[in-house]
């Protein structure tokens, strides 16, 4: 009921549901998003749109953040992620032939093996954030880890 009072209540069916009441129930269960109601995106319903976004919390509203997790217990320091990462390959010439990159690390470098385990130094220049088009879908560090220790997550 709380959510229904912010909807247009026109039953226009543009969202694909039979009534606004049905849409509000699905919205509560997380099956649809606020943006799935086209009339709400118009300027005259801005106040209701903002109120709904605030009510439904961070799942709905904020942009999810990229995190690359390296499981400490599974990593064995093989350095495959260091060699195969395209950013490392561009800025650290010694990693091209499988050698460990220089230390202190170059400012674009993503991965380095320290103390027998791989560490993520900084994520700003990862292709998933920094590139355009198909390169944004880069997942090589996760695909080629033989112990499945690298996981790409959005939180």
């Amino acid at each position: 009921m709380e959510l229904y009072k912010f909807l247009p209540k026109t039953n226009c069916k543009k969202c694909g549901k039979p009534t606004c009441m049905a849409f509000s129930l699905d919205l509560l269960q997380g099956k649809v998003k606020v943006d799935d109601c086209p009339p709400l995106l118009e300027p005259k319903y801005k106040k209701q749109y903002d109120a709904l976004k605030e009510l439904l919390g961070s799942e709905e509203g904020q942009q999810k953040e990229l995190k690359i997790n390296i499981d400490d217990k599974l990593c064995d320091g093989c350095g495959i992620c260091v060699t195969v990462c395209p950013v490392n390959a561009r800025y650290c010439p010694s990693s091209l032939s499988g050698k460990a990159p220089e230390y202190p690390p170059e400012e674009h470098q993503l991965f380095q093996v320290i103390g027998g385990k791989c560490e993520l130094l900084k994520i700003e220049h990862c292709r998933r954030l920094d590139a355009e088009g198909r390169e944004r879908e880069c997942r090589v560090c996760e695909t080629y880890c033989p112990r499945e220790a690298v996981k790409i997550e959005y939180v």
Binding site: T83, I114, G116
Partner: protein
């Protein structure tokens, strides 16, 4: 920053960055987990830094004079000693060990005789194609793992060999093909891509695969339609295409292929197959690489070859080398020895029980730097400095390339290096007169 060489396994990576003030090691960058454990050995919980002697059934700490005296006593009371190990020490120490064996009329052998050495022995009559790691980085395009699991034994091997972008292979992983032959789906299978070929073979049926490939080299279209040893016909055709079309292929062998069998010799048939494929090759050749565990496993054969012209075990009688049909395993089985000197290895743990129980019966001198199952059984334990960190020397990599190891820290308690200790024993036997 200066790069240092790691002595964790037989790959001897020389691109490790170590931060140290000469007393402690604060950071190790670039080394895998096995390398880090090697550097950690300096301050390990169970490290031995003073000699031990067995008194009244228990090991007790003793002074260096006492321990050396007891060791010399054991050697003088023995007429057919056995010397074993020598793969965790430098080449200079291996040479000192051979000189000691000559002095005391002993039989000396290294770990390689139950591992890598078997393949090189067969290669004497058939010939063998070798290659180096740098060649594979720059030119390799086909990598076959047969009975080997580098993801769990030599972690950086796949990194260097498969993922690197060498001079003529700048596209890296995309242009290299990986084939793995193994009955268990190990961790190495997880680096497979869409163009690679996993072959899960039935246990103990490698010989059928080898014989079928040899047959196919002679008469085309002889692949049976139901496949061989659990591998289907299409995969076999692809395997053969890769083998004959690769420009610079390499087969990496591990423990899985050196198992004995009463009816056939797997290693011999594999080497023959390689010869036949290289004759039929259109563009290039296929070479061999053998994985080993300890960092200087390949070194003993080179040292023995340059000192006595024999690569492998050596036996001495009346201070002269003699020809012998015995091997390490036959010597222990027949109990044809009356004491043993073990250097840098743990035979009680890695030999079968029927052999290790025979070694345990006789007096045992151990030269090692941390507690192992063998140190629980030894009569005298003489600790030494860790080669590669506390003392230098020469070592041979798994592709037979010699690499120099350097000293980084001073050993605790002024421990001698393996070479110095073996030379000291040799010198003391000179003075007292040898038996």
């Amino acid at each position: 920053m200066k790069r240092f060489t790691c002595s964790g396994c037989s790959l001897l990576c020389d691109d490790i960055i170590v931060q140290s003030d000469g007393l402690f090691i604060s950071e190790v960058i670039g080394a895998c987990l096995k390398g880090k454990e090697r550097f950690d050995l300096v301050s390990a919980k169970n490290r031995i830094i003073s000699p031990l002697i067995r008194k009244d059934g228990e090991l007790k700490e003793a002074s260096w004079d006492e321990a050396i005296k007891k060791a010399i006593e054991i050697i003088k009371n023995s007429s057919i000693p056995l010397l074993y190990g020598f793969s965790n020490v430098s080449c200079e120490a291996q040479d000192a060990g051979i000189k000691l064996a000559q002095k005391i009329d002993g039989f000396i052998d290294s770990n390689a005789s139950i591992c890598q050495g078997k393949i090189f022995n067969k290669a004497k009559s058939l010939g063998i194609n070798l290659t180096t790691i740098t060649e594979i980085i720059n030119k390799g395009d086909l990598i076959i793992l047969w009975g080997a699991n580098p993801a769990e034994t030599v972690p950086r091997l796949l990194n260097k060999v498969l993922f690197s972008r060498g001079k003529f292979r700048m596209t890296g992983r995309e242009i290299k093909t990986l084939v793995i032959v193994d009955p268990i789906k190990t961790a190495s299978f997880r680096v497979m891509g869409v163009r690679d070929l996993p072959l899960i073979i039935e246990p103990n049926k490698d010989i059928d695969l080898i014989r079928m490939l040899k047959e196919e080299c002679c008469t085309a279209n002889s692949i049976p339609s139901q496949g061989v040893a659990g591998i289907d016909k299409n995969d076999l055709k692809r395997l053969l295409l890769h083998l004959t079309g690769a420009e610079n292929g390499v087969i990496i062998l591990g423990q899985g292929v050196i198992q004995p069998h009463p009816d056939y010799d797997l290693v011999e048939e594999l080497l023959e197959l390689l010869q036949m494929i290289n004759k039929r090759q259109e563009k290039g050749r296929i070479s061999l690489l053998i994985m080993g565990g300890h960092f200087n496993m390949a070194g003993f054969d080179h040292v023995a070859l340059s000192a006595y012209g024999v690569s492998g075990h050596l036996e001495f009688k009346h201070n002269q080398m003699v020809k012998t049909e015995d091997t390490l395993v036959s010597k222990i089985e027949k109990e044809d020895f009356d004491s043993s000197i073990i250097v840098g290895t743990d035979p009680i743990s890695h030999l079968p029980h029927s052999l290790s129980s025979k070694i345990a019966k006789k007096p045992l001198i151990l030269i090692d730097n941390h507690s192992t199952a063998t140190s629980h059984i030894a009569d005298v334990v003489l600790p030494t400095a860790i080669t590669g960190i506390e003392s230098g020397g020469l070592a041979y990599r798994l592709d037979q390339v010699p690499i120099e190891l350097n000293k980084l820290l001073n050993p605790p308690n002024n421990l001698p290096s393996d070479e110095e200790l073996l030379n000291q024993l040799h010198g003391l036997l000179n003075k007292g007169g040898s038996e």
